[in-house]
């Protein structure tokens, strides 16, 4: 009986990949464990092994094909004497292949390749061409442009050079800038964060990539004690122009030690600037601003957002200022404040609420430090209600801080308590159903809005 071989998901966030190379040809006999093909994921090139045995009856997807969706049939295995052509059309899809990878797409990762909401940025001149770009490409472009502009800018981190980036954010940079400026480090976060800080004191402009911000906890002494405080402790003599960047927050099914949002932690520290972009345009413009900033900047990316596409203005030098929120959607009934991946819940909730006749204003803070309080307060004074949305833990969250600020500065305008939607107060569980419950959902945002609008 014929078996279909499906495009596998080979990373927690992979939605599609490139079928780089077939290592078998039609007519070959394969057994379990044989390498069938090389597949390029969003992170790496992986070898893909056969699970079943049989004869390669038909190859359905030619090598070199890009953008092959996960679970697309790529070949058919047949038994001795079976007709490959006939089998290809009738073979049932085995559920075993993709499930063996344990892939359960994050609720987030499921849809919306291009943001439906129009990007309204006052800084974009009329008639500017918009190019559909992934967040991943936008980040890479930002680094490449700044490295072309300033010879003192370099990037260092684990797998940034020869491997082309663990998440391929630095793809192509080694080829263009060479090993002097794209520097692979050993796995030694504490050490290379400190070396980066020293290099910034010494007159260069380092970009330090953490493979994820979870690993930056090993380096947090240098981020806070060495980078953030030295300008003050030196009476203004010694600044530390450095960018610490990498993915932050939950990816999908990677468990408690790899799924934490550090936005609130870093946002607490005077001397740091903290950026947490959502769209590709902001990722690019804010990263360019971060690299030029004379202070230490924490740049919190998100693995699930890396593959999302957005419209990015085609401008020679597109930068986005720190401390300026973006209003993605104007509304009158409630203010939704979010940033980073929280924005997808905010925007989805706003769409659904609109169907129910609730008009939500959606604010993307974009930077947590400096924080655009004025835009939030102006909006709350208009809508009289506010819900904050973030992926991080609930205790001492950014939402808690915003609630206090709104209470202090707009108390008389509030018609309901400010509600904070956050992740749950638990270490991230691995089990798919539990993880889903630990994460923030759009339904929770809608529920919060109903509470504050007394519906």
């Amino acid at each position: 009986m014929a078996t279909e071989v499906l495009m596998p998901a080979l990373s927690p966030t992979m939605e599609e990949g490139t079928l780089a190379k077939w290592l078998v040809k039609e007519g070959d006999t394969v057994s379990s464990g044989d390498i069938l093909a090389e597949i390029e994921t969003d992170k790496a090139t992986m070898e893909f092994e056969a699970v079943d045995e049989g004869i390669v009856g038909k190859i359905l997807i030619a090598e070199g094909t890009e953008g092959v969706k996960v679970n697309t049939p790529i070949a058919v295995l047949v038994e001795e004497g079976e007709d490959a052509e006939a089998a290809a059309s009738s073979a049932p899809a085995p559920s075993a292949a993709p499930a063996a990878n344990g892939h359960d797409p994050a609720p987030a990762a499921a849809k919306a390749p291009v943001a439906s909401v129009e990007v309204r940025e006052t800084l974009i001149p009329e008639g500017t061409e918009m190019v559909t770009t992934t967040v991943r490409e936008a980040l890479r472009d930002a680094m490449a442009e700044e490295m072309r502009r300033d010879g003192k800018v370099f990037v260092m981190g684990e797998e940034v050079a020869e491997y082309q980036g663990a998440y391929k954010i630095t793809q192509g940079l080694l080829d263009e800038f060479g090993a002097r400026r794209v520097i692979d480090t050993p796995i030694t976060e504490h050490g290379f964060a400190g070396i980066g800080v020293g290099a910034a004191f010494g007159g260069t402009r380092p970009i330090v990539e953490f493979m994820t911000f979870n690993f930056a906890m090993q380096a947090i002494d240098h981020i806070i004690n060495s980078a953030a405080k030295t300008l003050y402790m030196s009476g203004g003599q010694m600044g530390c122009p450095i960018v610490f960047r990498g993915p932050n927050g939950a990816a999908a099914r990677v468990g408690a030690q790899h799924s934490q949002d550090y936005g609130a932690w870093y946002a607490q520290i005077p001397g740091l600037k903290v950026v947490q972009p959502y769209s590709a345009a902001d990722a690019k413009g804010l990263l360019k601003t971060a690299i030029r900033d004379p202070n230490p900047v924490i740049f919190l990316e998100n693995e699930i957002l890396y593959g999302r596409s957005f419209e990015v203005p085609k401008l020679e030098d597109w930068t986005v200022p720190f401390g300026k929120a973006r209003i993605w959607r104007e509304g009158t009934d409630v203010t939704l404040v979010s940033w980073g991946i929280g924005m997808q819940y905010a925007l989805e909730a706003a769409d659904k609420l609109a169907e129910e006749g609730v008009s939500a204003e959606v604010i993307d803070l974009r930077t947590l430090r400096p924080l655009d309080y004025d835009t939030v307060i102006a909006s709350v004074k208009k809508t009289n209600r506010c819900v904050t949305i973030e992926e991080g833990f609930p205790v001492c969250s950014v939402g808690n801080h915003l609630s206090a600020y709104i209470m202090t500065h707009a108390f008389d305008w509030l018609d309901a308590p400010v509600l904070n939607c956050t992740g749950k107060d638990v270490p991230m569980p691995y089990a798919a159903n539990l993880e889903k419950h630990a994460l923030l959902t759009t339904a929770e945002v809608i529920e919060a809005v109903k509470q504050v609008t007394y519906r």
Partner: protein, 338 residues
């Protein structure tokens, strides 16, 4: 304690010896004064004195060239004076005054001078080690022919980040001299109670970094070893480790009763091994200076230190507006290589 090696027999000039004598005496008198001001309540918080270790920084500064960088821990007063920072500005920082190097906002453990290439003054044990390698990385990246002296103690030598740094410094051939000031006690814990691998410079072997042990009570031996280390770095051969055997006469900080060692042990070091006495004897026996000449220098140093103390007492406290300055840079500070 390392035995005093036959330090390159004094092919050393009178002027050079007088310079070392003056520099080491300045540090000792300055520190004694700081201890006094601390006792008077004019200096607060932690205050770690360098008394006994003077030959380490004075010897290594003699091996440095203009533009070379240095970075150290919180026991930093000696390093600042040895690299030419103004004793008045250092003392006024200790008293938390406007005239201090950090305008009173850093204190004893956190002082910097871009002009003198002194990059701190770091309060976290061991944190200055990767920072020092980073400074060297910047010099290499920018094509400057400079060396960074990265000082740390026998206590910091057990920190993990030191070995992360050794690994990368050798991997990338960074021009950094790692100076382990082995004063034999990490606060109250003697080296032998903290490790069985007691020759600390040998740990560099695991990373391919050459190094040696040096008698840190002999300024000439320190200088000679420093020159060798610097030549290695400047030739592009990567880092070098100097384990400088020294001794601190005072407690770890002002509040340390130092019950972990005997009075006799300290007394013996002071009487038999003192680095300043050593140079003084060389000056006198070599007929380079008379007792009167040295008395004149003692007086000169005493005046400098008294002036520093006066300045530190009279300088006003920082304006309250200083609370809110220097948190973020608008542009890079003047003198930044950008």
């Amino acid at each position: 304690m390392a035995t005093r090696k036959a330090a390159a027999k004094p092919n050393v000039s009178k002027d050079e010896l007088l310079h070392y004598y003056r520099e080491m005496l300045l540090i000792r008198r300055f520190e004694e004064k700081a201890g006094q001001l601390y006792g008077m309540g004019l200096i607060g918080g932690f205050c770690h004195l360098y008394i006994g270790q003077e030959a380490v920084v004075v010897g290594l500064e003699a091996a440095a060239e203009e533009g070379d960088k240095r970075v150290t821990s919180y026991r930093d007063h000696g390093h600042m004076l040895a690299c030419g920072m103004d004793p008045r500005g250092v003392m006024a920082e200790l008293t938390g005054r406007e005239g201090g190097y950090s305008r009173g906002k850093g204190g004893s453990m956190h002082m910097f001078s871009r002009e003198k290439h002194f990059y701190g003054g770091h309060g976290i044990v061991g944190a200055q080690v990767p920072i020092g390698a980073g400074l060297a990385m910047a010099d290499k990246y920018l094509g400057n022919d400079r060396v960074t002296f990265t000082y740390f103690g026998d206590g910091a030598a057990n920190q993990g980040q030191v070995y992360e740094t050794y690994n990368m410094a050798e991997l990338w051939d960074l021009p950094v001299v790692f100076v382990i000031e082995n004063n034999q006690y990490a606060m109250g814990t003697s080296v032998k109670r903290a490790t069985k691998s007691m020759t600390l410079y040998e740990r560099g072997v695991a990373y391919g970094i050459p190094g040696e042990q040096v008698d840190g009570m002999d300024v000439l031996a320190v200088k000679a070893a420093g020159e060798k280390a610097v030549a290695h770095c400047r030739a592009g051969k990567g880092p070098y480790i100097l384990e400088v055997m020294t001794y601190r006469y005072r407690g770890h900080s002002m509040s340390d009763p130092a019950k972990y060692r005997t009075r006799e042990e300290v007394q013996e070091m002071r009487e038999k091994r003192d680095a300043i006495e050593h140079v003084r004897t060389m000056l006198l026996t070599g007929k380079h200076a008379s007792e009167d000449d040295l008395k004149a220098i003692d007086k000169e140093i005493k005046d400098i230190v008294n002036q520093a103390a006066e300045f530190a007492k009279e300088s006003p406290e920082p304006a309250l507006a200083e609370l809110w300055t220097d948190i973020y840079a608008d542009a890079l500070p003047q003198g930044e290589a950008h």
